[in-house]
Point group: C2
Chain length 492, copies 2
C-alpha cells in the first residue's frame, strides 16, 4: 500500500497529493475545486474542531450561526473588502429550475431570477456586522465574542486538497469592542490561542507575527498570523487574526452609546483557521511511509494486529488484546483491533503506517508463550519487544513522548532551515533551497513587491517577541536602514 | 420582559415568533428566509448535535463531508428526486463579480458564467452516491455508514424561524448496504434513534410510523418518521429515515461484486433531523412566561440571583453561591450566577423564566441568617425555601424529576388530544379543534388527497407497533375496508 505513495524527495507535491488520497483523508469531488473529506480525514478535523472549540469557550467566546448567503450590495460597503473577494466568489442568481421544454433534464427557470444576487460567503464580516448593528446599542452590549463553524467558498482557480479548495470548512470569530485597545488585545489573544493549538496539539512549531500591509486581510488595519514551515522549506500560513479597526462598524453604521452617553463606532476583530490546517499537519510530519499523526489528534492512537497460525492461537491473542484494549481505553486512549480476515499482517502494518497511527501492537504465537508483545512506534519506525504486563501504562507515557518527539523533530528541522541572510546574492541563492530567510527590509510595499517579482518570496511575517530579529541593519534589497529582520519565504 | 410575549391563547403563531426572538434564540437576517441563530439558541442546538452525534457513533456511524454544490445534471438523474427539489433551489450561475463600469458597486461578471450551473445542496443523495460509486467495488466495502453535519438550502416561499427556513442546519446520514433487508433494518434503527432522542432528551413524545406514498421523500421507497404534537394540536414531523431501495445506486451506476462475484446494485438509506427540532422543542413545552427547557438540553441548568441591600450582604451571598456553584459543577450541572449590577432581581427572574432555565436559586439577607435558599422550578413555576445544606444534591435529583415531568405533561397533553374518529362528520368537526385523529383509511392516494383538499388534514403517519391502530374498520372517507387506523392531523 505505502508503495503507491511517491517518494517525498522525488516530487514533494505529488507525494502530498498521493498521501491525502491513499491515507483516505480526502479526494476531489465531481464539483470543480470542491473536495470530499473522507471519514478518516474528517475524524482528524473533528479532533481539531473539538479542541479549538474548547479553547475558544475557555477564552469567553460563544458560538452562533449566520447565513450562508450575502447580498451582493453588502460586499461593496467596505471598499478593500470587496476588492479582496469579488473576483473569486460563487454567485446565486436564480431560485428555481424547471423541466427543459426542449429536451431532457432541467434548466434554470428564467422567471425565477433574484432581484439582488446572493454571494456564497467567502467570509462573513459583512453579514455579521449588518446583524451586530441591531445587537449593539450601549457599552453594556459589548464586548460581543462570537464564533461560527461554517463552510465558505472562494472560487480559487488552482486548487489543492485541503490547502486551497473552492469550498472549505473553517471557524470565524467576529468580536465587537468598545475600545481600540480591547480589540487589539483580543486579536493578539486569539493568535496566541492558535499558536498554542498548533504547537501543543498539532506538534507544529509556528512563528507569531504581523503581516506586512500588502499581505493583510482585505479590510483589516493589522493582521496577525501564525506561520509554519513545511518539510520542503516552504511556508504555510496556518491561521490569522485581524484587527479591523472601525472599518466594518463604519460601513454598516454600528455605533454604541458610551458611559457618557456619546455615540462611538464599535471596534472589531475577526480570526479564523480552516481545513487548511489538515494540509499543514500532513506536511509537517509525514514521511515516505505515509502520515505521521501526533497522538493528540490521531483518531486511532493504538492499533493491534494479531499474528497466528491456528484458530486457538487467534482466539488466545484476541483475548489478550481485549484485556489490554480495555485498560488503554480506561486511560482515555483510542484503540482499534484489526482482525480483518482477508489481509496479511504485513499488509495491515503498511496500511496503519500509511494512516499514521502512533503505536502499533502485534502479538504472535511466541509472544503468547513468553507473555510479550511487539510495540512499533510510527514516529521513529522502531520496534520493541515488551512484557504484556504493564504495557498499557507504558503506552500512556509513550503518547506524550511521541507528541514531544514529533514536535522536537519539526522544531529542529525549522531551525536547520532558518537563515540570517544579509546580501541580495545570498538571498537569491538561498531562496531556491527553501527555508525561512531572516532579512532586513525597508518597510515599503514597493520593495516587497520587487522581491516577490524577482524571487517569488513573500514576507511571511514580522515576528513578534523574537529577540533574534530585533536589530539594526540595512534592507536586503534597497540598502535602506531597517530596525528589525522579517521572515521571507516562498509559501503555499 | 416576558410581558412582551403574546399570550399563547390569543395567537399561537405570534406567541411562537415572539418567543424565538425575545428568548434570544434566532432572528431573521437580511437574506430572505435565512435566519441568524443567536448564541443562546445555538447553545441548545449544540447540545442536540452533541447527543445525536454520540448516538450515531454508538450505532457504528462515522462523519464525513461532501460538497455544498451539486452539478445541475446530477439532480436530474433520479426522476422523482428532481421533481421534489427543482422548484425550490438556489442556483449558482457565475463565479466572479466586477466593478460596475456604469456606476457604483459591483455587478456579476458576464464573462464568468459557469459551464454547468451548480445547485446549493437541498439534500445530498446525488453528490454522495456519485462519490460512493468510487468507494464501492465489492461486498467487503459494505456497509458504508456515513453521516454529515451540514447546511442545506431549500427556497421555501413562506418561512418561519426554525420551522421552515431557506437555509437550515441538519445532519444527513447516507448508508450503503449489500442487501435490502440490511438497508431496511438500518432505516428502522435510525428512526428509533430519533425517537429515543426526542423522548429522552427533548422530553417530546413522538409516534413512529411510515409515511403514506404521497408524503414520502422524493426518491424513497419507504419513509419512516417521528411525528410530534405541538401545543396547538398541530402535528410536526420531527425526523425522517428513508429506505431508498436501489434508486440512487441505479441512477449513479453503483454496483458491487457479491460473495459469488456477481454484480448487484447497492441498497441505500438516508435519514435526517434539522434545526427544525428547535421549533419542535419550543412548541412542545413553552408557556406564556417563555421557554421551558428540559434539563438535558438546557445550556444553563441553574441560575443564581443575589438579593441584597448592602455590599456586605452582597459579598456574603456571592460567597455562598460560589460554594454551591462549585458543588453543582462537580456534579456536571451548568450554573450561571447573574450578578449584573444594573438590573433588579424581579427583572432577572422574568428574563431567566423567558429563557427557560430549569431551576432558579435566589438568596437574600434573611436566607443568609437562616442558612436557607429559595429554589424556583421553571416547569411548575413553584417556589420552595430550602436549607442551603444539601441543596446541590437535591438539585441533581430534581433535574431528572423536571425532565420526567416535562415529558409526562407532553404525553398527557397528547393523550387528551388524540381521538378515535369513525365518521366523516366528526372528522370535519374535530379537525378544527386540532389533535391527532386516529381513523381508518382505504390506503389510496386519491382519498388522502380529497381529505386534504376538504380539511387541510394530512396523514401524518401509519403508526408502527401501536396495538390501538391494529383493527378492522371502514375508511372514514370512502367507506372501503381498512385493516388499521392511521393518524390524520393538520401539520406544520
Amino acid at each position: 500500500m505505502a508503495k503507491e505513495v511517491t517518494n517525498r524527495e522525488d516530487n514533494y507535491s505529488q507525494w502530498y497529493n498521493n498521501l491525502v488520497v491513499k491515507a483516505d483523508l480526502a479526494e476531489q469531488s465531481a464539483v470543480r475545486g470542491c473536495m470530499v473529506i473522507k471519514p478518516y480525514g474528517y475524524a482528524i478535523w473533528e479532533k481539531m474542531h473539538e479542541q479549538l472549540d474548547k479553547m475558544f469557550k475557555e477564552t469567553g467566546h460563544v458560538n452562533a450561526y449566520f447565513p450562508l448567503f450575502i447580498p451582493k450590495s453588502f460586499l461593496s460597503k467596505e471598499a478593500e473588502h470587496v476588492e479582496g473577494f469579488a473576483k473569486e466568489c460563487a454567485v446565486v442568481t436564480h431560485h428555481r429550475l424547471k423541466v427543459n421544454p426542449e429536451g431532457n433534464g432541467v434548466i434554470v427557470d428564467p422567471d425565477a431570477k433574484l432581484e439582488e444576487e446572493l454571494i456564497v460567503r467567502p467570509t462573513s464580516e459583512t453579514i455579521i456586522w449588518n446583524t451586530y448593528k441591531n445587537w449593539i446599542k450601549s457599552w453594556r452590549d459589548l464586548p460581543i465574542l462570537c464564533n461560527q463553524w461554517a463552510n465558505v467558498v472562494r472560487w480559487e482557480m488552482r486548487t489543492r486538497l485541503f490547502l486551497r479548495t473552492a469550498e472549505f470548512l473553517w471557524q470565524e470569530g467576529h468580536t465587537a469592542h468598545a475600545t481600540k485597545e480591547e480589540a487589539i488585545a483580543e486579536a493578539e489573544k486569539m493568535v496566541e490561542v492558535y499558536a498554542k493549538f498548533a504547537r501543543e496539539y498539532m506538534a507544529m512549531p509556528v512563528v507569531v507575527g504581523h503581516k506586512s500591509a500588502a499581505e493583510r486581510f482585505a479590510g483589516a488595519l493589522d493582521t496577525y498570523c501564525i506561520e509554519a514551515m513545511m518539510q520542503d522549506g516552504k511556508a504555510l500560513q496556518a491561521g490569522t487574526s485581524h484587527f479591523l479597526g472601525q472599518n466594518f462598524a463604519k460601513a454598516f453604521e454600528v455605533q454604541f452609546a458610551n458611559k457618557e452617553g456619546k455615540l462611538e463606532y464599535v471596534w472589531a476583530t475577526s480570526w479564523g483557521v480552516s481545513t487548511r490546517l489538515m494540509g499543514a499537519l500532513i506536511m509537517s510530519h509525514s514521511d515516505n511511509n505515509g502520515l505521521v499523526l501526533p497522538p493528540k489528534l490521531a483518531p486511532i492512537q493504538v492499533v493491534m494486529v494479531p499474528i497466528f497460525k491456528t484458530e486457538e492461537e487467534h482466539n488466545a491473542i484476541l483475548d489478550r488484546f481485549d484485556t489490554i484494549k480495555k485498560e488503554l481505553e480506561s486511560k482515555g486512549i483510542s484503540v482499534k483491533v484489526d482482525d480483518r480476515d482477508n489481509l496479511r499482517p504485513g499488509f495491515k502494518f503498511a496500511e496503519w503506517e500509511l494512516k499514521g497511527v502512533p503505536v502499533r501492537l502485534a502479538m504472535g504465537g511466541r509472544d503468547l508463550e513468553n507473555g510479550t508483545i511487539e510495540l512499533a512506534r510510527r514516529d521513529t519506525m522502531t520496534k520493541d519487544n515488551l512484557p504484556q504486563e504493564g504495557v498499557a501504562q507504558k503506552i500512556v507515557a509513550l503518547m506524550d513522548e511521541i507528541q514531544d518527539n514529533i514536535y522536537k523533530k519539526a522544531v529542529d528541522f525549522r531551525s536547520a532551515m532558518t537563515y540570517k541572510v544579509d546580501t541580495w546574492e545570498e538571498f537569491k541563492q538561498k531562496i531556491e533551497e527553501g527555508g525561512f530567510l531572516l532579512c532586513h527590509w525597508d518597510g515599503t510595499t514597493e520593495t516587497e513587491e520587487k522581491i516577490k517579482e524577482e524571487t517569488k518570496a513573500t514576507i511571511r511575517c514580522i515576528p513578534i517577541d523574537s529577540f533574534v530579529c530585533e536589530e539594526e541593519g540595512k534592507c536586503i534589497y534597497s540598502g535602506k536602514p531597517s530596525h528589525r529582520r522579517v521572515i521571507f519565504a516562498r509559501a503555499y
